[in-house]
Symmetry: C2
Subunit: 205 residues, 2 copies
């Protein structure tokens, strides 16, 4: 969502992202499994998991959807690629993605690096995002305060921060940033409304 | 470490990585803070943190080292860039990095995407890594079994999996993979030994 207003002004050609996904995306039972397995771990008790394929307490694992044995990508990653192209109305956008579950109850994060067609600065991205609907910039380098799941949880806005030059692209076409959002709210419903709100503007563009 | 044997055969030009770093990297007090704050969270009690700058229980935050206010990169990220160039003996390698703490007690993970000078396939990477000292491949697409902190914890080997074509680079020069390692062991000491073991071979190369 924070990429769309950037893409409108300076086409995003390539996108590489890694996710830090919460239990909530897998449903209430997964959230309970995280709570109960963590409780068991702290008490030194064994825990018999029933929802997720791997131990969740104090652990990280790749997304629990099916992996395509040919490509090595899981269904969540394939969905990210497809939906990005659909929302951007751009089949050419090149997307590389790694979806990972972290032991967080609610609130997804993403570390994003994107490359634009024309050069772009972190100041330009900051200006675009500060005017974007549904986006809140949290980017305090002095206090080391950036988007976190606990702050995104229960919020409508997508939190964006750590907006900075991607040092792996000296050409100045690439930016990295870190995003947190409450996927319980940023799911199909709210997204659909916000995209619909943009439609007249897009139709005029 | 798993990149070095690849780099020797096919120079890595560009590297983009996101980390999933455990409490242990910040010391025993940080591990205790994760345990005690999680215990408090599960009991619905408040917790007064003293070690890390953000709530750690069921949360994710950007690395707690100082941020350079000019570049927006934290010291951990700057260290990753410098050490990669030093170990690779290659100042030209372009590195983009995001360092993040996750609520894991022990065992760092990294989602890595790298671009080589010549085309490279996931099969070639698999072959190189299967012969690399200190690297163990865990890459089971059918069982969705890949490197996890709980498996890396207490191991000498760096676990590598999810070796696959980076779909954001259609030219076939880029690979993505996921790595887990116990940084308590993979710190300066063991790394120094393993690099030293490679030296005669490197001197002959």
């Amino acid at each position: 969502m924070p990429l769309w207003p950037i893409h409108r002004q300076n086409r995003i050609k390539r996108l590489i992202l890694s996710t830090y996904q919460a239990a909530s995306g897998a449903g209430a039972a997964a959230m309970e499994e995280l709570v109960e397995s963590t409780r068991a771990s702290l008490a030194g008790r064994a825990y018999q998991r029933t929802v997720l394929p791997h131990p969740y307490a104090f652990n990280v694992f790749n997304h629990d959807t099916r992996i395509d044995p040919e490509t090595g990508y899981n269904e969540e990653e394939t969905k990210v690629i497809k939906e990005t192209r659909k929302i951007f109305e751009d089949d050419r956008i090149a997307v590389g993605v790694t979806c990972v579950r972290v032991p967080v109850l609610r609130g997804h994060c993403q570390a994003i690096t994107f490359e634009c067609e024309k050069p772009i600065t972190e100041q330009e991205v900051g200006t675009i995002l500060s005017e974007a609907p549904g986006v809140k910039i949290i980017d305090d380098r002095v206090k080391n305060y950036f988007p976190m799941p606990i702050d995104a949880s229960g919020q409508d806005d997508v939190l964006v921060g750590r907006i900075r030059k991607d040092l792996s692209d000296p050409s100045g076409h690439s930016i990295s940033m870190f995003v947190a959002a409450d996927q319980l709210l940023k799911g199909a419903a709210l997204n659909a409304i916000q995209i619909a709100e943009l439609l007249p503007e897009r139709a005029m563009a």
